[in-house]
């Protein structure tokens, strides 16, 4: 018997499903996602996985090369640093510190940026142009300069570094939101919503935000990779996290003093940062092109 309806039910995938299907086709992006989830697992379960505590100093095992080296020992798979602390554990804790601090920074910057962007986007005349100018200046001043000012005022420390980088990332989101909101406001579905008596916040919450979420996710991933680079750079210049905090940038700065007899003290933390940023960038890029394909087809 012929099937009841001639056309088989058209499975319209939800936008998320469609983006995931587009994303899946890019094998490189999926590979990046795998590495990123690996890092996130390490960041969350770091303390549980790590064989030693990050700050205990094994003075009899100073500067042991990684296990694959001839005189490396399996006790310390990735070797130890000049104070005898296990490198693998410190990398786990370092990933935790750097990754979480940059994610938190980006979330704060995202929240602040979107709020200000919406205000700028929706308001007309002087107020919006003022917000744009102030933000253009912030966007223009190099992140290191903002960090230097904040460190000079508040002193060094990871939270101050996060504050500085968050401040430097806000304008990026404000510009994004402002342009998006300004574009959407001219569209008809916003006008109909306004005619239904929705006030500005409702329009934003129910109409603009759902459309903007994916764009924010893409820009958010790129902001996270920028935040990681900046936080580790500040750590390296020891303007950010102080020496006792196992932050990746700080570990490279510590490794500098014994770079000739123990080059892995520099190479391993640097490699971790590089892989973390690379995986985030790959995922971000895959997400962006998946989003672009979904929108254009």
């Amino acid at each position: 018997m012929l099937d009841a309806n001639l056309y088989e039910e058209e499975l319209h995938p939800t936008p998320l499903m469609a983006t995931w299907r587009e994303f899946k086709q890019r094998h490189v992006a999926v590979f990046g996602l795998v590495i990123l989830t690996l890092f996130i697992i390490v960041a969350i379960a770091g303390p549980v996985l790590s064989p030693y505590a990050p700050t205990t100093q094994y003075t009899n095992m100073l500067l042991i090369p990684p296990a694959w080296d001839d005189n490396g020992s399996i006790l310390h798979v990735l070797g130890t640093d000049a104070l005898g602390r296990d490198m693998l554990t410190r990398l786990f804790y370092g990933t935790q510190v750097t990754l979480f601090s940059s994610i938190v920074t980006v979330f704060i910057a995202l929240g602040l940026g979107v709020a200000m962007g919406v205000v700028a986007g929706m308001s007309k005349g002087l107020r919006s142009s003022f917000i744009n100018h102030v933000l253009d200046i912030l966007m223009l001043t190099p992140t290191l300069l903002i960090a230097i000012i904040i460190v000079a005022i508040l002193g060094t420390g990871l939270t101050n570094a996060m504050l500085a980088i968050g401040l430097a990332l806000v304008p990026r989101f404000v510009h994004l939101t402002r342009d998006f909101v300004r574009e959407e406001m001219n569209k008809d579905y916003i006008k109909t919503a306004r005619l239904d008596g929705a006030n500005l916040t409702q329009v934003f919450l129910y109409n603009i935000l759902p459309n903007m979420v994916e764009l924010l996710i893409v820009q958010g991933t790129f902001a996270i990779s920028v935040a990681i680079l900046d936080i580790s750079a500040l750590g390296f210049l020891n303007l950010g996290a102080q020496t006792l905090m196992p932050e990746l940038g700080v570990m490279i700065a510590d490794g500098l003093s014994t770079v000739y007899i123990a080059p892995w003290n520099i190479l391993l933390p640097g490699l971790t940062i590089f892989l973390m940023v690379l995986s985030i960038n790959i995922v971000g890029d895959g997400l962006r092109s998946a989003l672009r394909n979904r929108l254009t087809h």
């Binding site: 490189v28 142009s129 001043t141 290191l144 300069l145 000079a152 005022i153 770079v259 080059p263 690379l278």
Partner: protein
Amino acid sequence: MITTLIRYFNLTFLTLLILVMLSFGLAYFFPGDPITNLMGTNTLDSQPLLMLTSQQTNIFMQFWYYVQALLAGEWGVSFATGKPLYQDIMRLLPATLELSIYAVTIALILGIPLGFLAGMNYHKKIDNIFMSSSMIMYSFPVFWLALLLILLISLQAQWLPMSGRLSLLFNVPHYSGFILVDILVSDIENKRFAFNNALQHLILPTLSVSFIAFAVFLRTTRRSVADVLETQYIKSAQTRGLPGKTIFFRHVLRNALLPVLPILAVQISTLVTNVMIVETIFSWPGIGDWLIQAIYERDYPAIRTGMLLVSVVVVIITMSLECISQLIDPTRDRFAYARR
């Protein structure tokens, strides 16, 4: 045309004013007494700065004298060295500018044409190679990249020197602050060796900064070229049967470059950050290294003035880039700010 120029001029002026106010405010934010923060020491003979202390009362008069002092070049004295900041900064800022200019030019010269090449062969082998390699290149942390370059090229292979702008054996008189210009202008006898040595000192820092900038420029240009090729007017030009070359040079080239310019402007600030970080590693005598030393020594006048100078330069460069892109790009909605 004139209206855009005027608008951009007062936009820059407003931004600079806000920057100066910010730097004036910083003196109050920094710990310690604001007046010494402003001038470095309270025994100073510069006229406007002295006036600054006499009129303790209202803040606006103070601010006005502060602006006068800034314009007159009396930027106070640094806590650490006790020398006037004007000489230090005028010696250091050109060094940073020089490094940034060489890095940007190399990144542009290599980035833009390769971006076009990749954009033209969209989704082909050569495009994929460029895309994956540029993705890797701009994920490098700049300080780690600099360290790797030093470890591999300076120490292992011992090809290039690793620190400073010029071997200290050469005594090149200060002319413009740009080392290559100074050497060419100076009349020291072994000028050729000095130039050769300066070039050797330049290569590694420029490479580490332009490495990342190149990747960003490549990707931006490639994306913009790919978008232009998709557009309707290129298709209609093709259907009109115009030869490939005219289409490329008349239409694709300009339309692809126009959106790239404002994106470059935004890249300038990240480039300056990378230059300042690279300076500390290669001990390049620029303002970045000096500012970071100033932080360790809590030298507030130096931080405040250094910060002001760098952001003024960055603001001027970026604003002029944006102004140029606004002028030559007829399609950009002209009065984006004023009208809405």
